[in-house]
Amino acid sequence: MRNGTVPKILFVFYLVVLMLPIYWLIKMSLQTNTDIMSGLTLFPRNLTFEKYVAIFNDPTWVHAFGVSLSYVAINTVISVAVALPAAYAFNRYYFIGDKHLFFWLLTNLMAPAAVFAMPFFQLYYAVGLFDSIWAVVLAHCLFNVPLAVWILEGFVGGVPREIDETAAIDGYSFPGFFIRIFLPLIANGIGVTAFFCFMFSWVEQLLATTLTSTHALPFAAVMTRAYSVSGMDWSLLAAAGVLTMIPGAFVIWFVRNHIAKGFALGRV
């Protein structure tokens, strides 16, 4: 498997196979249902954007898209903001119980959503947050805050400790140093962490649908409903699916060379 031609062919073949299902969805979103039902084709016979137009004109879809984007954005901001000081503390100091706390965060990051679905339902119902964006925002903090801490801790480690000391010697107070010197140094780390929090919150479906019913129904929930109610409107479903891919595809280009560091919890 020297880096000759054979590995290249294998790799390109894999990329094609990987993109095939996505292409299939895009193709179907540009076909009418009758066109789909009338048999298998590699290319849509007559291209139509009617389903996209339908979605954009339908207030429930647009509202759902807005709801999804808003709770994901708010969750990302909270996660990163809360995780920054913690990541600095974990990387720069030993303190009592730091190991156990870090482990506890890992367990929350890995906690099965199903285990928390029912308790969250009860909790937010009791607290009166049920069917509001805040329920999903706080629920997603369960795994997004630990994720943010893990990734940021890796990036904080990239800044040499001597820079903190030089700033102290120069006379910076800690807040002054943190904001004016330190944050700019891990700016791309913050960017990557925000991207991952956005993604992990955007892709999650179980908690988002469990904790909402009507007012704060996210895009995913509207999709599952569309799937069962409108009886196999495949192209509408495909169009909705394609729309959910746009945020990811748009942002990823900016963080492409840090993707691996993010997925490896900052440990690469």
């Binding site: 299902p21 969805l25 706390l101 099965p112 706080l138 995913a220 691996a260």
Partner: protein, 296 residues
């Protein structure tokens, strides 16, 4: 390098994280524990049930025990299958990936795309893709004469979920291995060339040892995600046919929100959670040990 100082005032930095995660973690766990030791006769009246739920769950002869046992082994088999395919495939593809030039950026983005799609949309894609009337995958398999039907055939359903997971998450292993390989200084490859090492010798003696740290993380992430999979099987097969793809989280969801049998669901949740905790603990110790021994 100066070692980290001990500074317990650092707790002030950590309090915000503690507050937020505690709220969304401890309170729910407390409710689960609370229900797991009670039973109900309906109409919101609960009575003490001690550890009865747990004894039933862990005793395969009882109905709920058998059900839990089946779901657990079904999920473990699924996790194992996914790991055995995804990890070697991921490493192999990382070795084939382009190392320099414009192709690197594009291939990284394309590889990462599947992981950015909401899990229910992944389910929808494959739900369509596996139908033999309108899906390429379904049509191809049926065309090959295989009796493939996701909704009726347990084997087809179970295999399909594995294929979906391999399609969805192998990119993660590729990216991690690729990053691990890129961290190897070029001098190692040059030394190996000078020593006349074969491609396999280079892989076993340089690349694999250096990938150790990254692979531990890849296996941890992959095991945990497969062990708690819910959305894809829920969308594509709804846990069916029968209970062929009713993994732990689907089963739990059915009991908790479907039958609203809180006691059983709570006990099951706790056992499920404890398993993930132990696995996390094992990996956490391995990772800290690797870190303390310095970069292998």
């Amino acid at each position: 390098m100066i070692d980290k100082p001990v500074n317990n005032r650092a707790w002030f930095f950590v309090l915000p994280v503690l507050g937020v995660v505690l709220f969304s973690s401890i309170i729910p766990v407390m409710t689960v524990v609370n229900y797991s030791v009670q039973d109900t006769m309906g109409a919101n009246s609960f009575f003490w049930n001690g550890d009865q739920w747990f004894r039933d769950l862990l005793n395969p002869t009882t109905t709920i025990g058998a059900r839990f046992n089946d779901a657990l082994f079904r999920t473990l088999a699924f996790s194992l299958a996914c790991l055995l395919i995804e990890v070697p495939l991921g490493i192999a593809l990382a070795l084939c990936a382009p190392r320099k030039g414009w192709a690197v950026g594009i291939s990284l983005v394309v590889i990462a795309l599947p992981m950015l799609i909401p899990w229910n949309v992944v389910g929808t894609i494959w739900q369509i893709f596996t139908r033999e009337d309108i899906g390429l995958f379904g049509a191809a398999l049926v065309g090959l004469g295989l009796h493939y039907n996701v909704t009726q055939e347990p084997i087809s359903a179970w295999m399909t979920i594995v294929v979906i997971d391999v399609w969805h998450w192998t990119p993660l292993v590729i990216l991690l291995s690729y990053a691990g390989l890129r961290a190897i200084p070029d001098a190692y490859y040059q030394a190996a060339r000078i020593d006349g090492a074969s491609r396999w010798a280079v892989f076993f003696n340089i690349e694999l040892p250096k990938l150790q740290k990254v692979l531990v993380i890849a296996v941890l992430l992959r095991f945990m995600q497969t062990f708690m999979i819910y959305t894809e099987p829920f969308v594509v097969t709804g846990g069916g046919p029968g209970s062929a793809t009713t993994f732990l989280s689907i089963d739990l969801d059915k009991i908790a929100l479907g039958q609203v049998d809180l006691g059983n669901a709570a006990a099951m949740s706790l056992v499920y959670y404890l398993i993930t905790l132990t696995v996390c603990w094992i990996f956490f110790t391995i990772m800290t040990q690797l870190e303390r021994r310095g970069d292998v």
